[in-house]
Amino acid sequence: MTQLALVIDLNVCVGCHACVTSCKSWNTSGWAGPMPDKNPYDEDPSGVFFNRVQTYEVGTYPNTETVHFPKSCLHCEDPPCVPVCPTGASYKRKDNGVVLVDYDKCIGCKYCSWACPYGAREFDENNKVMKKCTLCIDRITDLTLPESERKPSCVLACPTSARIFGDVHDPDSEASVAIRELGGYPLQPEWGTKPANHYLPRRKQKIHISEDELVRADNPLRKEDELPYDPGETLDDVAW
């Protein structure tokens, strides 16, 4: 079985919001759109987004670290939002594991959003239906696109390649390898939702150098210089 997902590298994300804008730009006029805004240039603006980049400060000054944290639907393997839907509008695709909403069946009761601990669903007040990240289902399943473009809009837009798209059930996919080798983790694992999207942690590269490695203990001159050693003529210098 295939389970498509994103692996987001928090070590690389710079919080530029390119994924947010490219997501909205692609999806508002695509299969999953529109994503309407209310008062976009006025007081108290509001709008529908499938993807948000948030920023957190970890620790207390001066020992702080800034974490930019992109958040979209995690396409859970056991999605709590799907069984609660009374109409079957909320569903998980059997062939690739993407969680979607059928806008023609949605009655706008918002119960699925209550059932999502991640706040991944946003209600469209104009069309009165629930909307959410589709993993750009209209791109990734479009066989007319070249394979390099069969990826979600956010992945293609990311300038630092912080987003990896792939099948997390295929152990050899780039996404699976990244999760396995770089310590990928799911969000709020305590609820047993088994999110398909994973996050790669912040990683600090450190090497340990001890004092005697800086000043060579076995250096006869006690300083770094060329050795006063003349090897004399070697076999190489002999002219044959």
């Binding site: 957190y56 009374p86 109409t87 009761c109 983790y185």
Partner: protein, 326 residues
């Protein structure tokens, strides 16, 4: 959570309707056992069932205001295998139909026995419909409460006490309305229904207090560390990703001060429990026909506050991601 009045009115109004129906049928059973005198099938059971139906229709009507697409509401009956909301959508109309036919059977006096059990107990249509309606009324209490109790990460709701409280508060307010109805129609059942209403209200006081104490001592499973997956005790949100509002900042917050919340709690604890009990007892002592009605009205107002608090109290884990604008 943001308390939506459509849902508050839905749950409280149908609770009253279910309770009133159960009260009417309890009266019929007592009459059948010759513990109470027989009541008029037209003015008591007929009008009483119509009143219960009125509350159920009002509740159903309120629920439509919660929907973005009410014209598609019929679709909500499809996923009954997995969704408690879907089950409620199926059970509520069945219950309304049973209440309607129960009232109709009484009003048309279809009281000829269809069969007689052990030569002593005549079974007619009203009894059969009453039994069926009573079973479905309890099923409906469970369906309504399980919509909230089944959401495991809304830990304030995820307890059997939610089902117990919805059932007991529905019974208490329904029997209170039965007492008020009897007082209004000058039927000699005010003391009978009043006693049951007081009993249910007292038990509900215990169970609702138990859920308040449970939720006060609740240690949430979710934390900032598991929300973003960074193992640190001090994590502060600097930006939630946008400067304005969004569905996430509106739907899951009550946007009220702690003082306001505390006042709602005090109000509902006073209006739902001690005040109606005092009023109904005073009505019994003074043989007043107004005080039982006042008792019901006061308890219903208390229930609106109770349900408002029930929603406001629940802390949704998604709020961890929406704490600071910028």
């Amino acid at each position: 959570m943001h308390p939506a009045f459509s849902v508050i009115f839905l749950t409280t109004l149908i609770g009253v309707g279910q309770g009133l129906f159960l009260a009417l049928f309890t009266g019929q059973i007592y009459s059948l056992a010759h513990l109470l005198p027989d009541q008029s099938s037209e003015t008591f059971y007929g009008v009483g069932s119509a009143l219960a139906l009125l509350f159920l229709i009002a509740g159903l009507g309120a629920s439509f205001f919660h929907l973005g697409h009410p014209e598609r509401a019929w679709r909500a009956a499809t996923m009954w295998r997995t969704s408690w909301l879907s089950r409620e959508v199926i059970v509520l109309p069945i219950f309304m139909a049973l209440v309607f036919f129960y009232g109709l059977a009484h009003y048309m006096q279809w009281s000829q026995p269809i069969l007689v059990v052990s030569d002593t107990m005549p079974v007619d249509w009203t009894l059969l419909l009453g039994v069926a309606g009573s079973v479905v009324a309890f099923v409906l209490f469970v369906c309504t409460a399980m919509i909230y109790a089944s959401l495991k990460f809304l830990e304030e709701w995820h307890t059997y006490l939610t089902v117990v409280n919805y059932t007991l508060l529905g019974l208490a307010s329904g029997f209170m309305l039965a007492a008020a109805f009897s007082a209004f129609m000058q039927i000699d059942l005010v003391a009978f229904y009043g006693t049951w209403a007081v009993i249910f209200t007292l038990i509900a006081t215990v169970t609702r207090s138990a859920s308040l104490i449970r939720n006060k001592n609740l240690r949430h499973k979710h934390s900032m560390a598991s929300a973003i997956g960074v193992r640190h005790q001090t994590i502060r949100q600097i930006a939630q990703g946008f400067m304005g509002g969004s569905f996430n900042t509106r739907e899951f917050f009550h946007h009220r001060s702690p003082f306001f919340i505390r006042m709602v709690k005090v109000t509902f604890l006073f209006f739902t429990f001690p005040l109606p009990i005092a009023l109904i007892i005073a009505g019994y002592m003074g043989e007043s026909s107004v005080l039982p009605i006042a008792a019901f009205v006061v308890q219903y107002l208390g229930l609106i506050a109770e349900r408002w608090y029930f929603f406001a109290e629940a802390k949704h884990p998604q709020n961890l991601y929406y704490q600071n604008m910028a």
